[in-house]
Symmetry: C2
Subunit: 439 residues, 2 copies
Amino acid sequence: MSSQLPATLSSVRALLRQGHTLVQIQCGPEVTTSCNKEIIHQVPNSKRTLWTTSKPAGSFDCCSLCSSGTLAFCILSSSSGTPGPREGAFLGCFQSAGCHRYQSEGTAHLSHLFLLHGLSPEADSSPLAMTQHLPSLTRVAVCGGTHGNEMSGVFLVRHWMRDPSELQRSTFHAVPFLGNPRATEQCRRYIDRDLNRTFTADFLNSKVPDTDLYEVQRAQEINQTFGPKSSSQAYDLMLDLHNTTANMGSCLIVDSGNNLLAMHMCNYIQKHSGIRHCPILLYQQQPEEETYSVFSVAKVGLALELGPQPQGVARADLLAQMRSIVACALDFIEEFNQGMLFPALETEAYKVVGFVDFPRYPNGEISAAIHPNLQDKDFQPLKSGDPIFQTVSGEDILYEGDKTTYPVFINEAAYYEKRVAFIETEKCTVSHPALQKSF
Amino acid sequence: MSSQLPATLSSVRALLRQGHTLVQIQCGPEVTTSCNKEIIHQVPNSKRTLWTTSKPAGSFDCCSLCSSGTLAFCILSSSSGTPGPREGAFLGCFQSAGCHRYQSEGTAHLSHLFLLHGLSPEADSSPLAMTQHLPSLTRVAVCGGTHGNEMSGVFLVRHWMRDPSELQRSTFHAVPFLGNPRATEQCRRYIDRDLNRTFTADFLNSKVPDTDLYEVQRAQEINQTFGPKSSSQAYDLMLDLHNTTANMGSCLIVDSGNNLLAMHMCNYIQKHSGIRHCPILLYQQQPEEETYSVFSVAKVGLALELGPQPQGVARADLLAQMRSIVACALDFIEEFNQGMLFPALETEAYKVVGFVDFPRYPNGEISAAIHPNLQDKDFQPLKSGDPIFQTVSGEDILYEGDKTTYPVFINEAAYYEKRVAFIETEKCTVSHPALQKSF
C-alpha cells in the first residue's frame, strides 16, 4: 500500500478544500461506548459501507468497502486535538476498496478514519496503488481435529500425515497436523477446554497451574511450532478444518472482511472448487476481545466449516468437498506465489452480529427446540415475527430482532454448552482491489 | 396356550402316520455348533420361516411363523434318545402362528422342536387356543437418556418428569426416568461404560470393584427400582428412547420376533401413529449371550431408535415423532388392559444377522468411509457387489455377502468404537395370533 498521501490533518483539510467529501469515523477508548464497538457507516452517495474497529491497544483494523474512486486513509491524533505521542501519524491509504491493519504500540490512543469520496486516480496526482501487493507465502499449515469429534478434518489430516504428497505445490511447503490428538483419540470435542478458544496471550504464556489443562499445553506447542502468534516467524497461512451439525454447506470462515488475502482466497474457492454453496462467514470477534482461535497463530487464517455432519461421523460426501476446498486453497497460494494477478473482487458475505440462546427453565435446562421452520435454514433470511423456537407445549416463540438476519450454526451440537441456539449474521458485500505478489 | 396335544414322541409319531409333514429342528448344547446358534428353517410349502433358539440353561424360546393351519409344538428328550430327566415333557403348542417360551430348570438338555404342517383346526379335535391371552399391564416405565447425548428422549423425559400427565391412562401407571443422569448432564453417551450393555447378572450382582464404574451402580439402581430383572416383581413394560445418527426413521426395536406383546404393540404403532416409516428391527442377541439392555429389566421391552439426528442435538421433527410413538404405545396398553381384541397380525421386520466393521489400517485407524451409495440407505437392499466403502484414494470396496441384506445403523457415530460400520439384517415376515387380555 502506498504511503505517499498527505500525512497530517492539515493535508487532509487541504484536500477537503479541493471539494472532496469527508466521512470521518472516530473510534478509541476515550470515545463513547458505541465507538468501542464496531461501527458500520454508510458512505454518502454509495450503497457500500465502511467499517472500522477500535481497540485500546493491540491491532487496529479498518476496512473500506468503497466503490472505485474512493480514497480512504487513517491517521492518529489525540482525543482532544492536542498532539499525542503519534499525532498525525499516517497509517496507510488505499484507493478503490482496500484493507489496512495497524499494530499500535500498546498505548491507548484515539484514531480517526477518514474517507474521501469522489476521488479518482486521474483527479489526484498521488501514485496510488490500485493493485495491492503482498509477499509470497512459503509456509502453510493444515490443521484437522482442532475439535476431536469433527471427523472430516481428522480423517483427511490423518491421511495426509501418512502421505502428504497431495498437499504439496512447487512454491511452498504445507504441513498437516492434528490440532487436538488426545481429544481426537477419544472422539470428543476437547479434554479440558475448547482448544479453539485457547490462543490468547494469557494461555499462550501461562505457566502452572493452567498448563495442567491439556488444551493449554497443546496451544503452547502449536504456537511454538507454527507461531509465535503475531510474530514475523509465524506461518504465513493456516487452514483449519471443522464440521458442524448445522446445515451450513461448505462454509468459509475468515476473521474479518478486511483480510485481503483471505478474501481473495475465498473468492477463488467460490469460483474454482466446483462446489455450489461456499458462503463466507465473517466471524469477527468483539473489539475488546483478543483473537483466540487456532488459525490466529498464523499470519492469515481460513477455517472450513462443513455440515451438516453429526459429531463422530465421517460422511464421504463432506470428505470429498473438504478435500476439494483444501486443494483449491493450495492452488490459489501456488498461483499467487507464481505472480498471478487476481482481479478486484466483489462478493457476498455474512457478518456475525449476535448470538441467540435457547429459551430455558430457571434451572438452566432448555425449554424449547429450534422451530421446524428454522431448522436447516442456515443463511436464509429470518425476519421479525418468524418462529424460531417451539416449546414442548407446542407454543411458537417468534423472532423479535428489528431487522432481517441470516442465522447460521442453527442447532449446532457443540454450542448448546455455549448457550447459543444460533448465530445472527448480516448479509453484506465485500469488495477488495486486485491482488498480486509483491516483487 | 393349550397343552392338550400329544405329550410324547410316540403321540407325534402317531400324527405322522396320519399323513402330517414333520419338520424337526434339533438344538441343544450337545449338538453341533450350528445348532447352538439360532436356526432358521423354511417351512415346506410355505414362504414363512420357523425359528428357535437354544440355550444350555435359562430361557428357551421358540417361535413359529407358520401359516394358519400349521401346528407347532416342542418336546424335550435326551441327546441320544435315551430318556433324560424330562424326556417327552410337553412344552406347549399353538396353531396358526404363535409364540412359546419355556424356562428350563438350569440343567443342560436337548430340545426338539417339531412342526406339523397341513394340520387345520377342523382336522384336529384338540381345543387349540386361536387367540393368545396375557395378563394386563399395570406398571410401565419410560426411559430417556440411557445414552446421555441422545437428546429426543432426554428432552421428553425431562418434560414428563416435570409434568407426567401426558403419560397417564386409566388402567396403568407410567413412570418416566432418566437412564443415565450423569452422562446426560455432560452430554456424553456414557461415563465409564455403555449403560445399555450393563444389565447382565454379573454387573447387576457385582460388589466392589466393579461398582466403581458409574454405569454399574446406575444399572443396579434401575434394576432395584424397575426389576429385579426376570422376576415377577419386575415392571410389566419398559419403553427406552434412543436416537441414531443413521437414517433409520422411527425404528422400533424388540428383542425378538417371538415377543407376542411387543410385536402387537409395534403393529399397533405402525397402524396408528401416523408416521409413515416405523420399521421393526429384531435385535436378537446371540444364543450364548445374556440379555444386557436396560429394557431387559422389565418383562417386555420396546426401544425407539429415531434418526438421523446428531448426538447432542434435539430436532423438533424427531421430538414430535418420538412423542407420537410413545403416546401410541401407551394407548395400545390402555386398550389391551380394557379387553380389546387385537386381531392376528402379519408384519414385515428386519432381523439382525451380522456386523460389518470399517476397513482399517494395521494400527486400527479407519481407512475408508461409508460409500456415498450406501450412506443414508438404511433398510434398503444391499446385494453382493454393491459398493459399501470408499477409500481415501477413491477405491470402492464391494459387499461380498452371498445374499441380499438390509443394512441398518449405517455410519452410526456411537458404533465406531464398537467397530461396526453397519449392521446386516434379513427381511422377514412375522405373524402372530390374535391377542387379548386374559380374564
